[in-house]
């Protein structure tokens, strides 16, 4: 058995999981107020008023820890020529026909798209969320701005949730990925197959 390759440090993993837990809580409490079909989710938070009280605080935690995480991973998320070639063959990637894909770095184009989606949507959620935050901040903003903020908030949240559904599914789909975030390492074969340029950089091979 070959030596596993270190992908995430303990700090990076903790940071990721704080963001993940905050996302799940903010997502469930937000969906509860998004459509009546999800209102039952307020029961998880102690009822409607508690859901309204807790949601924005969870959101602030999500924002702060996400920004810390984004700062850590920023430099790995610039698009390269290899990413464009990889993206051109996205159909093959989805059909598990991975032979002859270009060598890519720590993240592939899909992961990078997710990263930038989150970098845009999470600050938007924070800003629009502050505008409608009752009873602390909303009374200081004009009603026309509140109306824009609720639409921006719902739309950004929707894009973010869709992105995370894809993110979670990709982790389940691509076997050997989850341990990168639970134990910090991936197998050599996984690194070579999915992120060969990163593998070369890490091992010098």
């Amino acid at each position: 058995m070959s030596k596993p390759v270190q992908r995430y440090t303990a700090r990076e993993r903790s940071n990721h999981w704080i963001v993940a837990i905050a996302f799940v809580l903010a997502g469930l409490s937000g969906l509860a107020l998004f459509h009546p079909a999800f209102f039952f989710l307020t029961n998880l938070f102690g009822g409607g008023p508690w859901t309204r009280i807790l949601h924005p605080f969870i959101g602030v935690v999500l924002f702060l820890f996400f920004m810390a995480m984004a700062a850590r991973f920023w430099r790995f998320n610039h698009f390269t020529a290899a990413d464009r070639q990889w993206m051109a063959r996205i159909g093959d990637v989805i059909r598990n026909r991975d032979r002859g894909l270009p060598e890519i770095g720590k993240y592939n184009a899909g992961q990078k798209y997710l990263f930038w989606t989150m970098v845009v949507s999470i600050p938007l959620l924070l800003l629009s969320g502050i505008v409608v935050w009752q009873p602390w901040f909303a009374p200081y903003f004009p009603i026309w701005l509140l109306r824009i903020a609720v639409v921006v908030h719902a739309l950004a949240a929707w894009i973010m949730i869709l992105g995370i559904i894809v993110h979670v599914y990709a982790a389940i789909w691509v076997k050997g990925s989850v341990r990168a975030m639970t134990r910090g390492t991936v197998s050599e074969a996984w690194a070579k197959h999915h992120h060969r340029a990163w593998y070369r950089q890490m091992t010098g091979k």
């Binding site: 307020t42 309204r52 824009i148 609720v150 076997k175």
Partner: protein, 291 residues
């Protein structure tokens, strides 16, 4: 149901039919505010405080007769005084009793995410049931008239109930009962429209050629209506909106988009599941492990 004697026509954040079985149904009611008869005595404000047990904080004088200066969770109706010169050198003092208009198409109810926190009775009254209110303030976003106020004390939204508790047992609202000049009248909406027509004819005879009824169609008509001497210029009356309607942003936010977006999220999860059971997981090939 808070008022068992009233049928409910619409209920916030509810996708199934509201309780609505009574055979005789209900007659739509309306309050008519004849601004040409209002003397600004504020007796209606006092009656409202008294019936609904409201005591606002004593405010400060801002150099106008407006007192209190704005609607609050404790002041559900407020006289707004406007000094205008519609014609040169002819000062007019327009006094508008502001408060919930009880829209037939209520933006507050459309925006509210809490089931049953806002109901519309079959008689047209739009009522807040504060025990279901979660304090999110979405009703403020939905209202085209800037009426609901969140209480600093309990974080619940409050506004005029059109004295739904009185109307339910056949009484007129408290403000109507107390008005000394007959500027406020209450009855079926049809009767009130008829009454307004008589008043408008009278005003036209007296030289107010643009006198008109304010019953804006953009919100489906309202169950609180005004007789305006200057019906062509509603803005004169402390910025009464000319053609109010629910903001397109609110309709976009609360209309067909959210069920569609919810469906989209469900679809994404299903797409993942079926991708897994058809294309299968992405596993690292054996030969790569050994090379």
């Amino acid at each position: 149901m808070a008022l068992q004697s009233l049928d409910i026509k619409a209920r916030s954040a509810t996708t199934t039919p509201p309780p609505d079985v009574r055979a005789r149904g209900a007659v739509p009611v309306a309050k008519l505010i004849d601004i040409s008869k209002c003397i600004g005595c504020k007796a209606c404000q006092v009656a409202c405080m008294e019936w609904n047990d409201l005591r606002d904080e004593v405010g400060t004088n801002a150099g106008t007769y407006d007192n209190p200066r704005d609607l609050t969770a404790q002041s559900w109706t407020v006289m707004r005084f406007s000094e205008v010169e519609v014609e040169q050198d002819r000062l007019e003092w327009l006094i508008r009793k502001d408060g919930c208009m009880h829209c037939a198409d209520p933006g507050c109810l459309k925006a509210c995410p809490a089931p049953g926190a806002i109901v519309q009775y079959a008689n047209g009254i739009v009522d807040f049931h504060e025990e279901h209110c979660i304090g999110c303030g979405y009703c403020i976003t939905g209202c085209p008239f800037n009426i609901p106020r969140i209480s600093q004390k309990d974080s619940k939204a409050y506004k005029c109930t059109l004295c739904s508790d009185r109307v339910a047992i056949g009484l007129e609202p408290a403000c109507i009962k107390t008005c000394p000049t007959g500027a406020l009248v209450f009855g079926t909406k049809d009767d009130m429209v008829l009454h307004a027509e008589g008043r408008i004819a009278d005003l036209k005879e007296r030289g107010y050629s643009h006198a008109a009824l304010y019953d804006p169609k953009g919100v489906g008509g309202t169950h609180v209506m005004y007789v305006l001497q200057h019906g062509d210029k509603p803005e004169l009356y402390a910025n009464l909106p000319r053609d109010p309607s629910i903001s397109p942003l609110v309709s976009l936010w609360k209309g067909v988009t959210k069920p569609l977006m919810s469906f989209g999220l469900g679809l994404a999860v299903f797409a993942g599941f079926f991708h897994y059971v058809t294309a299968g997981p992405k596993e690292v090939e054996e030969e790569e492990k050994t090379d």
